[in-house]
């Protein structure tokens, strides 16, 4: 049973560019959340998707947007990249009403 799959694993982008990160949730999970983790910090909640709708959002600017598809997979888009966006981006999935999230290994984004 595959867990959460994220792609790509590593990415280097230039300031001002746009990036799209992808996530496939664990089989049987219908809810996907995205987190940003800077070096030495805990993950910070970006937003959560369920039934293709954004249910809740953390304290991130509108440059961060997302989407969930009918098969529950999800994308995270970041526009106008800043150097400070360099981080590990984590996707987590769960079944609604069931706690205990399954995380992917993340996408390491470096903005230069």
């Amino acid at each position: 049973d595959a867990g959460v799959t994220q792609s790509p694993t590593h990415l280097i982008k230039t300031r001002g560019q746009q990036v799209t990160l992808r996530c496939s949730p664990k089989s049987g999970h219908d809810t996907v959340s995205w987190y940003q983790q800077a070096l030495g910090q805990g993950p910070q909640f970006i937003f959560q998707y369920y039934e293709e709708e954004e249910r809740q959002r953390g304290n991130f600017p509108d440059r961060f947007s997302g989407h969930q598809f009918p098969n529950y997979s999800s994308e995270l888009n970041v526009n106008a990249l800043l150097l400070g966006d360099s981080a590990l981006y984590l996707c987590a999935s769960n079944r609604l009403f069931i706690y205990g999230y399954t995380f992917g290994s993340g996408t390491r984004l470096t903005v230069v």
């Binding site: 987190y35 805990g42 993950p43 970006i46 249910r55």
Partner: protein, 115 residues
């Protein structure tokens, strides 16, 4: 907003001893508190969840306590092994229904079990 404090310094424990990690939070009391393990370059792995009406939870060598009066959770690893070396993250959500709350994480405690 919720603030979580964990021992920011590394915790060195001798193999076979019990490791105890602390998580303190401010503001509102969460409905749930969770502990995760994270290895370098990997995503967090869920370990245990404890509800606000539970005092203690156990799973194999792991034990979590939850004191809503002190606003503190303690995470214990008994008979610690070098393979337990990792960063341990405390996370809270408000449990406001439907698992729709994002988790608020602490910075984590880096645990080192020395042979």
């Amino acid at each position: 907003s919720q603030k979580i404090e964990q021992n920011s310094e590394a915790l060195n424990i001798q193999e076979g001893k019990t490791a105890t990690l602390t998580c303190n939070y401010t503001n509102y009391s969460p409905a749930y508190l969770q502990w995760y393990r994270q290895d370098p370059g990997r995503g967090p792995v869920f370990l245990l969840l404890i509800r606000e009406n539970e005092k203690e939870k156990r799973k194999e060598r792991l034990k979590v306590t939850f004191d809503t009066t002190l606003k503190q959770s303690l995470f214990h690893i008994t008979a610690s092994q070098p393979a337990d070396s990792a960063t341990y993250l405390c996370a809270l959500d408000r449990g406001s229904g439907g698992g729709a709350d994002g988790l608020t994480f602490g910075k984590g405690t880096h645990l080192i079990i020395q042979p």
